[in-house]
């Protein structure tokens, strides 16, 4: 459960990047795009983020049934906190 706040922060970190890049893309494409294109592009941005986050997120949620798993999960958390500057 100690890793729960890290999951939240990592999600927020990735979402900020996704929205910023999506905005840039939409403004480059202009207003002359169809709803279908817009949906496809939104799905693309979510697809990339979700699939990239899947591994790290999964490794923040080991059930901790044995001690090795728990300590590894905490190491993963510390590494993610460092690499994405999540603790500030």
């Amino acid at each position: 459960l100690e890793t729960v706040p890290t999951i939240k922060k990592l999600r927020a970190y990735a979402e900020r990047i996704r929205v910023a890049e999506l905005d840039k893309c939409m403004s480059k494409m202009g207003d002359d795009i169809s709803k279908k294109t817009k949906k496809a592009v939104d799905d693309l941005s979510r697809g990339i983020v979700n699939k990239l986050l899947h591994g790290p997120m999964q490794h923040l949620r080991c059930d901790g049934s044995d001690s090795r798993t728990l300590s590894e999960t905490l190491e993963n958390m510390h590494a993610l906190n460092r690499m994405f500057s999540l603790e500030t």
Partner: protein, 119 residues
């Protein structure tokens, strides 16, 4: 005309949410939700529920936000249309984290994580 009002309410809500005015967004999405329910427009109903959840969450009203994010999940189940579910699980978990209920948060994050690899 009521359908047009629904569409414009959703659009306004989205704009307010982007412009850091979640209180105004909340009003638009609430109106949109009522309209969508009356007009039986399940997809727009879902968008309104998601927007309402996000608006409440931004204002720190996590309990109410959970209600509307849960409505998104309910609508997905009812209509067999799964769009937005991954995000709803994540948002509910974020709210429980804010409320300090890490047990519940973990349950919803597990559902969220399980869906990250699907489309």
């Amino acid at each position: 005309p009521r359908k047009e009002e629904l569409i414009s309410r959703l659009k306004n809500g989205k704009k307010f949410l982007r412009n850091q005015a979640p209180d105004k967004a909340q009003l638009e999405f609430k109106a949109a939700l009522d309209l969508a329910q009356n007009l039986k427009e399940p997809l727009r109903e879902k968008k309104a529920a998601r927007g309402l959840g996000a608006s409440l969450q931004r204002q720190g009203n996590y309990r109410e936000a959970i209600k509307y994010h849960s409505l998104v999940l309910e609508l997905s189940a009812r209509h067999g249309e799964d769009s937005g579910s991954t995000e709803a699980y994540g948002a509910i978990a974020d709210c429980y984290t804010e409320l300090g209920d890490l047990e519940q948060a973990a349950k919803y994050y597990d559902q969220y994580i399980a869906r990250l690899e699907t489309d």
